[in-house]
Symmetry: C2
Subunit: 326 residues, 2 copies
C-alpha cells in the first residue's frame, strides 16, 4: 500500500499557497472545487478521521464522455462509427437509403444523435457485428492512431482533461481504485483507457453488445452480435456498478444527466459519499453547453447538485489548464 | 509490485526436496501437477523467459464450486436456497403444491438439481426477489454464520481447499490478479470471497439476476428482480470474462464440464495458457465423482484435458491436505 498524501492535502486546504511540486492538483485553480476534492481524500484516508474508509472500500467511478475527455461536436465513439459505416458501406448497399445510416453517410450525422438512445446504440452494434472481439480491438486501435478531432486537428486521445488526470492519479496515490462507468462502449474504451488514463481493462465499465463464444477451425473466438447487452447510462449506472464492482463507490464524477443516478447511489450510502459534476462553461478552451444540449445535457443533475451541495466544477474558472497539450 | 518468487520455484522443480518454508505449495505432494503450476508461474514471470508475460496481463480465473471449495452433497448456494424457501414458505402457501418448491420443502431437494439448469436458477432468483442488494447480503451473511455442512458439521466456508488457497496466494505473490468465474451467484459469492479467498468483490464474476435502481423515500436502492440477467457457465464463462475483465486469462482452473469453454478460451490465445482441472478422486477425505455425477459432472472436459495435455489434479494423490481444518 502506498503512503497517504495528507501533508500536501493539509497545506493546500489552507488556501494560502499556489501550486508547487507538492500540489496533487496543479492544473486546478484554488477554489471550492479543488478544496472539496482534497478535503474528501484527506478525511477518508486519515485513520484518525471519523470519515475514514478502509482501502478496500475506496472505490471511485468516473463517467468518460464529457468528464474525462471532450464529447463535442459529438461523442468520439460516434465519429468512429461514422468512419466505420463509410468504410463498410460498399458491402451494405441498402444503407444508402436506410436511416440512420443514410444520414451518417451523407454528413448529417449529428441529427442521428437527437433521436432515441437505444436506436443509436443499435447503430453502433450494427457497425460492429460479425467481428470477433480481437478484430474489433484492432479496428479501434487503427482508427485512434489515424483519426483527428475535427476542430482541434489532434488525435482524439489528446482531448483528455489534464485536471481530471490529476484527480485520477491523486486518488490512486491514496489507495483508491479508479473505475470508468460510461455509456460508451466497454470494448471501445478499453483500447485506450489503460494508456490514456492508467485504468486497466477490468476497471472499465460501459455499454456492451452481446457476445457469442464459438470455435472456428479449432480456435475459440468471441463474436460480436448485433444485439444490445447492456446500456450503461442513467439508472443503468448503479446497476452496472453493482454487477461489476459489487461495492458502492464513495466518490463519483460525472457531467450530465446520464450520471445522476450514479451520483445518487454514491451519496446514498451510510458513510462519506463525494459527488462531482464537471460543468462545461468554457467556450474558448473547450465548449460551453448544459441544459439545452443534445449531447451531454446537464439539467436535472445540475438542479440536484445545487440542492444537495454536490461539488460543481466551473471549467472556465476552476481549471488552470484544460488539455495536456496546452 | 511484489518480488518474484523464482528461487522457490526453481528449487522445487528439481523434485529433490520436500516441503519447506520456501515451498509456495506445501499442501501439494511432489508430482506432475505441482511441478506444472510452478513451472508455469516461473516461465511467465521470469523476464528472461520466452514465455514472459507482463504483470498487467497476468490474469488467472478460478471456478468456485468444486474448484475452490466442495460442492457435495449439492452446491452450497442451493443449501442456502432451501433454507430461504423454508423460511419464506409461510408467506407463499402456493409453494406447498408447486414444483420445484414442493420438493425443496419436503426434503427431496436433490431431485431439483437433476432438472434444467435455467429452471434451477429461476428458483434461486425466486427465493431472492423483492429484496434490495443490501438486504440480500445481510441474509447470506446470517446464513453463512449459522449454517453447517450436513456431513462435516462445519461452516460452509470451512470447506475450502487448502491447496487451492496456496495456489491463489502463490499467483498473487507473483503479481497475478485472481478472479472467480463461477456459475454460482455473483452476490452470494461476494459475501465471503474476500475473507475466505482474498478475492475482492470486483474480481468475483458469477451468474446474476436483474437489478432495478429505484428511490425509496429519497434513498436509492437496488432491488433484486425475479429474472435472470446472466448464466455464467459453459460458453457463458468466456463471455463474462470478456465483459468483466476484458483480457484473456493466461491461467484457468476448473473441475467440471461447465469450465470447458473457459479453459479453451484461456489456452486458445497466442502466448502461454495454463489450464488445470481438479479431479474429485478422494472418497475418504472429500468425494469421488466425475462422468456420471449430476453435480460437477466431469466428462467432455476430462477427455479434452487428456487430449491437450492440460494439468489434471488427482485430489487423492496430489493433495497432502484437502481442508484447512485437517
Amino acid at each position: 500500500m502506498k503512503s497517504q498524501n495528507s501533508t500536501a492535502g493539509m497545506e493546500i486546504e489552507t488556501g494560502h499557497r499556489t501550486a508547487s511540486s507538492d500540489d496533487p492538483l496543479p492544473s486546478w485553480n484554488e477554489g471550492a472545487a479543488k478544496a472539496a476534492i482534497i478535503r474528501f481524500v484527506r478525511t477518508t484516508t486519515d485513520g484518525a478521521s471519523p470519515d475514514y474508509v478502509q482501502a478496500a472500500e475506496r472505490i471511485a467511478t468516473f463517467d468518460n464522455d464529457g468528464t474525462l475527455w471532450s464529447e463535442q461536436p459529438y461523442y468520439f465513439q460516434f465519429a468512429f462509427a461514422i468512419d466505420q459505416i463509410k468504410a463498410r458501406a460498399s458491402r451494405y448497399p441498402e444503407w444508402q437509403d436506410k436511416e440512420p445510416f443514410k444520414s451518417m453517410l451523407t454528413g448529417d450525422a449529428k441529427s442521428v444523435l437527437t433521436g432515441d438512445q437505444r436506436e443509436l446504440l443499435q447503430v453502433l452494434a450494427a457497425t460492429h457485428f460479425g467481428m470477433t472481439t480481437d478484430e474489433f480491438e484492432a479496428e479501434v486501435r487503427k482508427w485512434l492512431a489515424s483519426a483527428r478531432h475535427p476542430r482541434a486537428d489532434r488525435p482524439y486521445t489528446d482531448m483528455v482533461f489534464q485536471p481530471m488526470l490529476e484527480v485520477l492519479n491523486y486518488l490512486r496515490a491514496n489507495d483508491f481504485k479508479t473505475f470508468i462507468v460510461s455509456g460508451g462502449g466497454i470494448e471501445f474504451m478499453r483500447t485506450f483507457a489503460e494508456q490514456t488514463y492508467g485504468i486497466p481493462h477490468q476497471q472499465v465499465i460501459g455499454s456492451s453488445g452481446r457476445l457469442k463464444f464459438e470455435m472456428r477451425d479449432g480456435t475459440p473466438v468471441l463474436l460480436k452480435l448485433a444485439e444490445i447487452n447492456f446500456i450503461d447510462d442513467y439508472a443503468g449506472k448503479p446497476v452496472s456498478i453493482q454487477h461489476h464492482i459489487g461495492r458502492r463507490p464513495i466518490a463519483a464524477f460525472g457531467n450530465s444527466d446520464g450520471d445522476l443516478q450514479m451520483l445518487q447511489w454514491t451519496t446514498g450510502g451510510k458513510g462519506a459519499g463525494f459527488a462531482l459534476l464537471v460543468r462545461h462553461t468554457d467556450a474558448i478552451r473547450e465548449w460551453e453547453y448544459d441544459r439545452e444540449s443534445d449531447i451531454g445535457r446537464l439539467d436535472q443533475a445540475l438542479d440536484e447538485a445545487n440542492a444537495k451541495g454536490w461539488t460543481i466544477v466551473d471549467m472556465k474558472n476552476d481549471w488552470r489548464r484544460v488539455f495536456p497539450f496546452e
